[in-house]
């Protein structure tokens, strides 16, 4: 994940450019998150998700969330886990804090081999 502020800035700039050019790589849909919200979601991913899955998302108490693991998985399944958690494990439901569109944007981003 973009830990380095320079990489994060670069990523935000690319997002901005892709937005201006009308390129929709991820998060297509009515309730796709705004640019500002995407920044918050990336921070949430790195900080809160990272507290269990590692700051680089390579795994910790929770499993790895790297694209090598997630790219082959069903996107809808990932969205469900994000929103409703996995009963019997430490994965909590994030529905109180995320819309379906935001969860979709996160899931698609996690699956992308090269989100930048």
């Amino acid at each position: 994940m973009c830990i380095d502020p320079k990489i994060r800035t670069l990523f935000m700039a690319l997002l901005l450019v892709s937005g201006i050019c009308g390129v929709r790589t991820v998060g297509a849909g009515e309730d796709a998150p705004s640019l500002a919200r995407r920044g918050e979601l990336i921070q949430l991913l790195e900080r809160e998700c990272g507290s269990c899955h590692g700051a680089t998302l390579a795994g910790g108490m929770g499993p790895s969330l790297l694209p090598e693991i997630l790219s082959e998985r069903d996107t809808e399944g990932i969205i469900n886990v994000i929103l409703d958690g996995r009963p019997g494990t430490a994965m909590p439901p994030w529905r109180p804090f995320l819309s379906e569109g935001e969860a979709r944007w996160l899931a698609t981003r996690l699956q992308a081999k090269d989100p930048e």
């Binding site: 830990i3 900080r47 507290s51 590692g54 700051a55 680089t56 910790g60 430490a90 909590p92």
Partner: protein, 389 residues
Amino acid sequence: MIPHPRGAIWLLLLLLTTCAAPRGTGDLGLVIERSRGSVLIIEHSSDSVLHRIAGLGDLSHASVVYSRDGLYGYVFGRDGGLSKVDLLRGKLDKRIKQAGNSIGGAISQDGRLIAVSNYEPGGVRIFRASDLSSVVDLPAIDATGRPSRVVGLVDAPGQRFVFSLMDADEIWVVDASAPQEPTVTKFTGVGRQPYDALITPDGRHYVAGLFGEDGLVHLDLWNLDLGTKRILSGYGRGKRKLPVYKMPHLEGWAIAGEQAFLPAVGAHELLVVDTRTWQETGRVALLGQPVFAMAEPGGRHIWVNFAFPDNDRIQVVDSQSQQVVQDLAPGKGVLHMEFTPRGEKVWVSLRDEDRVEILRTSDFSRIGSLRAAQPSGIFFTVRSALIGL
């Protein structure tokens, strides 16, 4: 004036050696900067940063133990890195990558061994504290041959290490008196999914929290033949568990007098336990899911921080009245709290505000602030003399 050249050299040498006044390490500590993979060497007499040491890898979940002379800090990183930091020279003395995914560590009673607990590959590895050379590996394989993540590793008197196998529901007691050939005593079926543990300051009681069931498990290290015992079973009393957005920590123990204050899992409460009987004696209602419950030195107050989304708050509980006596909002991303050895100050890391706040414990007032890049754990050298820390 100077009688002859040799005298001048001696005088110069004397001046050079007295320039840097000698200092101890009793007021030093390390602050983890999680996003940069660096640590700050700090001193808490006048609250300042002395050095920054970079290149310590993924420190998103990091902890520290100290050599008994308080000169070296051993930093355990998330990525399996083990780094030995020289506090006085302000440099990295040695660093190894000992596993893929690590969670914490401990130093032996005699100070010669460092044990590290790992998720991947699951197990404990023991190293010489002097040069971090490998002594022995203890893969966490259960009776059926299944590997397990290891949690709740602590040191215990008798040159022992104690830890829990999260996926195998076991507790292992390792006697490392003969470090190359340690003897392992295993307790099985201790309770579902131990996730962290504490050892009491006297080194007698090992208590592991269970994620897979309502309750904790207790082991009396003075009486191993009594085996493990479930305590506080069903503390949720069938209530629907609230979601847990960050797993609580037990290692920052809060023992005040005869009472232990433990964070509940999936409930916005501290559980109060009598450490003589290990029976529940009360509960303290809190504003959110507690992460750390830490007793001030002396045990009068218990300071509690919280999981997302309440991680901008601290509540202070009076151990006598078992009531919340102070609500604090120090800033965003409160991750950790560390007290000075005699407890007049507490350092609070604010991850999302890139600073450490320093509060006076007597009146909860703010007395200072230091810049740090996404600070997480704060560890003072007073830990070098404490069992289990």
